[in-house]
């Protein structure tokens, strides 16, 4: 694992992006895109979560094993989600 000290600038940049995306997500919520609303909101949230993970949580500088673990968590959440909801929409 690399104990890479990341320049402060990166962190401030990430911070500003996160704040901006928060404003965007609030603003966008006032327009109606029909069924797309939820996808847009979740899309923005996912972008935010990803950059938090990559930079604040240093995932980007971590070994592949850490990626595997983080990925497994998300994949399993997805499995639970999809198979459960699939039951309801095919009733």
């Amino acid at each position: 694992m690399s104990q890479h000290v990341i320049p402060q600038k990166v962190y401030y940049l990430v911070f500003v992006t996160l704040i901006l995306l928060t404003l965007v997500t609030v603003d966008v919520a006032f327009y109606n895109f029909g069924f797309l609303n939820i996808y847009i909101a979740m899309g923005i949230a996912t972008v935010k979560a990803t950059i938090v993970a990559l930079y604040f949580m240093h995932l980007r500088y971590n070994p592949r094993l850490t990626w595997l673990f983080a990925g497994a968590g998300i994949l399993w959440l997805f499995i639970m989600f999809v198979l459960t909801i699939a039951d309801y929409i095919t009733r």
Binding site: A72, W76, I79, L83, T84, A86, D87, Y88, R91
Partner: protein, 542 residues
């Protein structure tokens, strides 16, 4: 650390058992081997508590009418039996006892990665246990171990809350152990010990830990929601309040089906070690065995809906879950065949552990094959919620997992204690267990096919003969569990009478003294060879 006593003049021995004296040295220990012993004690107590309930159940079922206990008591008996056996005995059994003891030894490490966390997990386990026991003395709980809503959330008048809190707390104990194993296996293997040189028991512990980490949090949150609903009177699962009871079943089985593999995979690991040791032959298809374990662990997550074929789940979801259930049977098939092939052309030595292994293979096969009856949609409609299911899971959990656990205890007992038990008694009790087991549970397959529903306190007369057989078997079975208690404890009174490697087995745990020293190895071992290199003839290292 404080094991500097070994060169003192007093006649003290330099092993983990003698590394410190007094209760405090045990209750505050961070040595994985001592924690394993602590777990062994807790788990054994719960096993006998659960077994006692089973015995009362069987007694009641001897006659069609309700004569020994009341209906409420009966319902509490099978609930507490299931809860205790599953959550407090079988899930922690092999991981927390044998796994704790062996994982660091087998990979040549001094301890688990987080020793304090390990001790904490034992305390957490016991706190969970106290809640369950509190519920017990306070009148018990009657929801069935599955806690189906809305019965558990709204209608049941029994102690749902403490039991659910107990199970919730217990979950953290499993998670802590699993997390510890994962990190330890990843980060603390001895130099040269690559993944495909690991003993299969380590693969099994790893796979089990992965399942635990991914599944247990889901039951935790599900139980939280259940508590929330029950305490606040809001609707999450109760349709009268706008909720959906099937969601509970989805979340519950998302955990509880993988949990059945938490129970069986460690046993499979034990059996792999035992079979190759007493066949004096390398395990057949090592890599397939390792992959099969991982495949069971992963695909085991995709089949939970097979518990819900008649629940009102969609037909299409039923198809998917059924097909996947059949697929998950394939890696299990590989394991059974490979054990069998390992024995072929071996030099089989009939010591006690392999008798348990034979029992395991046979009974697990029957249990697994009857799982196919249940995975098959149309037959499950008839068989679900009957004694066929009860027989299926006891074949796997008692005939399989518990046999594997006992086999493992017998295999590593000399390592853990430095003593050999009386093998004549041990073989006798293995036989008793096998006979008693089949007499108890085989009739239940027939009962289930005839249509006797499970969780029935009274039943129609025509089912009596088979029930009497089952009860008779349970008595024999109970006896079979008491004998090992006696001769194992008895063995402790003897002199230390085994060397480093009494079975002539491979594996790092057999290269250090019995019982091991606190730091496991005088010097960190370096691994160069493959696992399970058994020579044509046995080489007993003394």
């Amino acid at each position: 650390m404080s094991n500097t006593v070994h060169h003192s003049v007093v006649d003290r021995e330099n092993d983990y058992i003698h590394a410190g004296y007094g209760l405090k040295s045990w209750l505050l220990t961070v040595d994985h081997k001592r924690i394993a012993i602590l777990y062994l004690i807790s788990i054994t107590i719960f096993f006998f508590v659960g077994g006692f309930f089973a015995f009362l159940l069987r007694l009641e079922l001897m006659t069609p009418a309700g004569d020994i206990v009341s209906a409420e008591t009966y319902n509490k008996l099978f609930t507490m039996h299931g809860v205790v056996m599953i959550f407090f005995f079988l899930i922690p059994s092999i991981p927390a006892v044998l796994g704790n003891f062996l994982v660091p030894l087998m990979i040549g490490a001094k301890d688990l990665a987080f020793p304090k966390l390990n001790l904490m997990s034992w305390y957490v386990y016991n706190i969970g246990g106290i809640f369950a026991l509190y519920a017990l003395v306070n009148g018990g709980v009657d929801t069935g171990w599955t806690f189906y809503t809305p019965y558990s959330s709204t209608y049941s008048l029994s102690n749902v809350v403490p039991v659910v809190i107990g199970a919730f707390i217990l979950g953290f104990s499993s998670i802590l152990t699993a997390l510890n194993f994962i990190v330890t296996i990843h980060k603390m293997r001895a130099p040269g010990l690559t993944w495909f040189k690991l003993p299969l028991f380590i693969w099994a512990s790893y796979a089990t830990s992965i399942i635990t980490v991914l599944a247990t949090p889901v039951i935790a949150i599900t139980l939280c929601l259940l508590l929330f609903e029950r305490l606040m009177g809001v609707g999450i699962f109760d349709p009268a309040l706008g909720g959906d009871p099937i969601l509970f079943q989805h979340l519950f089985w998302f955990y509880s089906h993988p949990a059945v593999y938490i129970m069986i995979i460690p046993s499979m690991g034990v059996i792999s070690e035992v079979v190759t040791c007493f066949a004096r032959k390398r395990i057949f298809g090592y890599k397939f065995m390792a992959y099969a374990i991982m495949a069971i662990a992963i695909f085991g997550f995709l089949v939970w809906g097979h518990h819900m074929f008649i629940s009102g789940q969609s037909v299409y979801a039923g198809f998917v879950f059924s097909a996947l259930s059949f697929m998950v049977a394939i890696p299990s098939a590989i394991k059974v065949f490979n054990w069998t092939a390992t024995l072929y052309k071996g030099h089989i030595e009939f010591r006690t552990p392999i008798l348990y292994a034979f029992g395991f293979i046979g009974l697990f096969t029957i249990g697994g094959l009857t799982g196919l009856f249940l995975a098959s949609l149309a037959t499950d409609v008839h068989l679900t919620d009957t004694y066929f299911v009860v027989a299926h899971f006891h074949y796997i959990m008692v005939g399989g997992a518990v046999m594997g656990y006992l086999g493992g205890i017998h295999f590593w007992w000399p390592k853990m204690t430095g003593r050999m038990y009386n093998e004549a008694w041990a073989k006798f009790s293995a036989l008793i267990l096998f006979v008693g087991f089949n007499l108890t549970f085989f009739p239940q397959f027939v009962l289930g096919y005839l249509g006797m529903p499970r969780r029935y306190y009274i039943y129609p007369d025509e089912f009596q003969v088979l029930n009497v057989l089952s009860t008779a078997g349970a008595t024999i079975l109970g006896l079979g569990y008491i004998i090992p208690m006696v001769y194992l404890l008895w063995s402790l009174r003897k002199e230390k009478n085994v060397g480093t490697n009494p079975w002539g087995a491979t594996g790092l745990e057999w290269t250090t003294q019995s019982p091991p020293i606190t730091h496991n190895f005088e010097k960190t071992p370096v691994v160069t060879g493959e696992p399970y290199v058994y020579q044509e003839e046995e080489k007993v290292v003394e």
